[in-house]
């Protein structure tokens, strides 16, 4: 997995790291169980303060996406194939999504454009294959 941080950008560095790890999990670049460098190693590789990386890892841990063990180090705790999200998460996410889409509508982006962009982004993510038995079950019934 590759991380590209813009230190002079408007988004805080810890948020950039967090966002890119989330995207890597969604695109299966970082599947569940895959390791990440330790906070100290990643801080050295990016040339940033170790507390900044610690903050992003802590955020990811709170979101249930990262597991940090003494022996195993930082490991992706889940991915798209790990089942549904925890209760209450979807409602929170829907609120943030609404604001994000509202920004596009407020800026005058046509509805078709917004939907096609959403589809293009979702197409980049890796979703677990639907089992053949489950997909054909409806036709048999």
């Amino acid at each position: 997995m590759q991380l590209s941080i813009q230190p002079d950008g408007p988004v805080p560095i810890y948020q950039q790291i967090r966002d890119q790890v989330v995207e890597a999990i969604a695109t299966a670049d970082l599947p569940a169980g895959a390791g990440l460098p330790s906070t100290r190693q990643l801080a050295v590789d990016l040339g940033i303060n170790f507390h900044t990386v610690n903050k992003s890892y802590d955020l990811l841990r709170q979101e249930g996406l990262l597991r940090i063990g003494r022996k195993s180090g930082a490991v992706a705790a889940r991915d798209a194939a790990s089942g549904p999200p925890r209760p209450g998460w979807e409602q929170d996410w829907a609120g943030r999504l609404r604001t994000l889409l509202a920004e596009a509508a407020a800026q005058g982006l046509p509805a078709d454009d917004i939907i096609s962009r959403c589809e293009a982004v979702v197409a980049q993510f890796a979703f677990p294959a639907v089992p053949a038995a489950a997909s054909t079950a409806g036709t048999r019934l």
Binding site: M1, Q2, L3, S4, I5, Q6, P7, D8, G9, A34, G35, L36, P37, S38, R40, Q41, L42, A43, V44, D45, L46, G47, I48, N49, F50
Partner: protein
């Protein structure tokens, strides 16, 4: 061959040649210690300064070598060293001149305007770390072991006074007899320790092509490490040959003294050749793999952390070792206390060796 002749006839022209060819093995986005966006690597000022630097350093090397030859037989052992010091100062001056000219044009034309300055990392560097070439350490360890065993076997038969390399007579003691084995352990220990630090440090990654540049860095590091470990083994062989003379296994003669330096010299040449080859290959591949059109992503302009374009001082960067900006190699981040600890440890070990030498009367 005395150290003075070695400095005069070998080190002075060799150093001059290395300084002259250094820009050819440096990353195209780092010109004379100045960070340059990939799209600006072909700017006329850079081509002009590279040409001028080549001529200036070639002239410095020619003058220094001519001075060494002309002053042969005059002065003392220190004369070639003074000439070498003057050569180093003049070469650094040439580097600074090119550095200043490029920095001035870069600032005047705002080369980084409109570019997204990025710091890139590839997590595979840590999750699939480059294995340290331990097998290449075996020759050095074998040579040290062979030296120690030979010394132990010879020790009971050694006379009460030994003839040191300078011709002085020193009383026999475990320290005076095994001083060269301690020297081997020091050289191999410090060399391997620094190499391990490099393996654990940050790779030299290009933000516009992280995966490709990491691949190239892995190749460069593997080549460099193998050459460096070969150099350590060959330096140990030189020390073994010196020890054989000290222990009177072979009689000292002019030819033997000159022969002793051949392995270490060969090791230096192997390391230089490997570094130049690996550096050139990396620079050429980086050139070839540049995407068409102006890139929007660039490495971060971190010139302010490089003092005189050569010394890295960044308190906010936790890295101890970083890739050097000129030629191929690594340097310490003088902004971290850990780097000063490394320097202190090396100096302390060297001081310990010197003290040991004095107490042994060598």
């Amino acid at each position: 061959m005395t150290p003075a002749i070695l400095t005069g006839y070998v080190v002075v022209p060799l150093f001059g040649a290395l300084m002259c060819t250094a820009p050819a093995v440096t990353r195209p986005t780092l010109q004379f210690g100045v960070r340059v966006p990939a799209a600006r690597a072909g700017e006329p000022v850079i081509a002009r300064q590279r040409r001028a630097y080549r001529w200036r350093t070639a002239a410095v090397a020619a003058c220094a070598t001519a001075a060494v030859i002309a002053l042969r037989g005059h002065g003392s052992w220190w004369l070639p060293r003074i000439i070498l010091l003057l050569e180093v100062t003049a070469d650094v001056g040439c580097f600074r001149l090119a550095h200043k000219k490029i920095t001035a044009v870069k600032a005047a034309e705002s080369w980084f305007a409109g570019l997204r300055q990025t710091m890139a990392a590839d997590t595979s560097w840590r999750t699939r770390p480059q294995p340290f070439p331990v097998r290449w350490l075996i020759p050095a360890v074998t040579v040290i072991a062979a030296t120690a065993i030979t010394g132990a076997a010879r020790y009971p038969y050694l006379p009460s006074h030994l003839t040191a390399l300078g011709g002085r007579s020193v009383p026999r003691s475990p320290v005076s007899a095994f001083a060269l084995v301690i020297g081997q352990l020091y050289v191999t220990g410090v060399g391997t320790g620094l190499l391990v630090l490099v393996y654990r440090s940050r790779p030299d990654i290009d933000a516009a092509d992280p995966a490709g540049s990491l691949r190239r860095y892995r190749t460069l590091l593997a080549t460099y490490a193998r050459a460096a470990l070969t150099l350590l083994a060959l330096v140990d062989v030189t020390l073994l040959l010196a020890a054989l003379q000290l222990w009177r296994v072979c009689q000292p003669s002019g030819a033997h003294t000159a022969l002793m330096l051949v392995p270490a010299g060969a090791g230096v040449l192997i390391l230089i050749t490997a570094a130049i080859r690996a550096g050139r290959q990396r620079a050429q591949l980086a050139d070839r793999q540049q995407r068409p059109g102006p890139p929007t992503v660039s490495d971060r302009d971190d010139d302010r952390f490089w003092k005189a374009g050569l010394l890295y001082v960044n308190r906010d960067d936790p890295a101890i070792v970083v890739a050097t900006r000129f030629s191929v190699g690594w340097t310490l981040n003088l902004g971290t206390p850990a780097a000063w600890l490394v320097i202190a440890a090396i100096i302390a070990a060297a001081a310990g060796l010197a003290l040991l030498r004095i107490t042994a009367g060598l």
